[in-house]
Amino acid sequence: MAGLREPVQRLGHSMTERILRLGFASRFFAYMLLHSGTAFRRFHLTIREIYFAGVLSLIIILVSGMFVGMVLALQGYETLQRYGSSEALGILVALSLVRELGPVVAGLLFASRAGSAITAEIGLMKATEQIAAMEMMAVDPIARVVAPRFWAGVISMPLLAALFSAMGIFGGYLVGVQLIGVDEGAFWSQMQASVDVRNDILNGVIKSVVFGVAVTWIAVFEGYDAQPTAEGVSSATTRTVVTSSLAILALDFVLTALMFTGGTK
């Protein structure tokens, strides 16, 4: 029994730590929402962050979207033509992207490209006392630094996911229609007829907004809570990528279960 005591104590201690940190992250989130006025009143601060988080992520999002769409078309055609329904390729590509791959893959890419950058930037600002200097100048760093970055992430994420899906559909078109020779009319018309604005597109947008909130919340919190050392900032950046990727996948399952079950479509 005595041998068991120490591991159990350690487990309990680590669980308590995690729960306390989650509590701190939630209070941080609430405080940030309450102090978001500056991010909207001085919207140029948020626009600047949208450039860093959103615009600079465009290349990776567009190129990845294109390749994912091209692979989807290749794989989808391979299966569909066995059942003589290769004209349904447009539906397969569009639904896979709009419902799932767009928000999820764009979210994962956003977490590694923009989330990590946000954490590293805020963490380094803390390590070099820029956050403390701001507080000493009577400027609330959560309102001035954190909130604009958070809202920039929340605004950028659905736009990036939409662009990812659009590029993916274009990639699917290039491979399916131009390369393999699926009928162009069938490709587009079946897609138009089967993709529903509310059930498919809106649900995809909701997912990407939720992922945007989750990823950016994790990124700003990890940066703000980072140990102010080189090692602390590096491990906070790693935690941002790992935690937000897992959060995206877990949230995706929950959201999919809520949205697409019960025979709504």
Binding site: M125, T128, E129, A133, A138, V139
Partner: protein, 270 residues
């Protein structure tokens, strides 16, 4: 009648946790208009004291009054209002790396005033001229030397004409020329702004000549205070060792350890 005190610390004790006390029963008073130095070894509590004066920490017991306000009783909004009357120079400047020198100095003005851009421009150039760096207005912090960065941070700290200016180790890692420039600026700016300055440092040779009053701290206590000339001559073993830079004395060279011979295995450990 003595001038009103800008900082009044009375019997303040503080610890970051229950086991580690950093300040023990510290009492000090800083009347307006002078340049004060708080000196002592690393870890003696001087930076903690400075952070308390800046309102970042609250005393566990005792009272800390700064510019007439009791630090511990302030709400966040009141603390921020108080901080608008303070300026602080951080150890390595803490300039915002994404902003130019000009925008760094303009930062507090833009955040706290509604002045037109033309007026802000004049004020920024005025402050930069005061620290001799008007010509560097368009540079980025990464393009500045350590001494220049410290001077820009000083221009930013005085942007709102503060009543109290705090310096946390302003001479760390500076070459002798930059060090002399920063020291002269601290004195000159304090006198021209009619402010009160607190310099936390362990740089004896550079600090004592230009400050009006010095507090020596050791182990979280003020062990001696007074004008530099008087304190240097005071018969306090720690101050003598600190000022003269002696290797051994009130602060021993050796960290406490068991007997040397016993550690080497030459005699039985007790």
């Amino acid at each position: 009648m003595s001038p009103p005190a800008v900082v009044e610390i009375e019997q303040v004790s503080f610890g970051y946790d229950a086991t580690r006390r950093v300040l023990h029963d510290v009492t000090l008073r800083m009347p307006q208009g002078k340049v004060y130095a708080i000196m002592g070894q690393s870890g003696c509590g001087k930076t903690t004291l400075l952070r308390m004066i800046g309102g970042a920490l609250h005393p566990d017991s005792g009272t800390a009054r700064v510019l007439g306000a009791d630090i511990a009783s302030l709400e966040t909004a009141e603390l921020y209002a108080l901080r608008r009357r303070m300026g602080m120079l951080f150890q390595f400047g803490a300039l915002f790396t994404d902003l130019s020198v000009y925008d760094n100095v303009a930062f507090p003005l833009r955040e706290h005033t509604n002045l037109p851009a033309a007026v802000i421009n004049d004020l920024v150039l005025l402050k930069l001229e005061a620290v001799g760096l008007r010509g560097a207005a368009n540079l980025k912090p990464s393009e500045l030397s350590g001494g220049m960065a410290r001077r820009v941070a000083l221009a930013r700290a005085i942007a709102l004409d503060p009543k109290l200016i705090m310096y946390d180790e302003p001479f760390t890692a500076l070459d002798p020329i930059s060090l002399g420039v920063v020291a002269r600026l601290i004195r000159r700016l304090n006198d021209s702004l009619g402010a009160t300055s607190i310099v936390v440092t362990h740089d004896v040779a550079e600090t004592l000549p230009f400050v009006d009053h010095v507090f020596f701290m050791a182990d979280g206590r003020v062990v001696a205070e007074g004008p530099p000339g008087e304190v240097e001559r005071a018969d306090v073993p720690f101050v003598t060792q600190f000022v003269q830079g002696n290797v051994d004395g009130a602060v021993p060279f050796h960290f406490p350890a068991p007997g040397y011979r016993a550690d080497l295995g030459l005699e039985a450990k007790v």
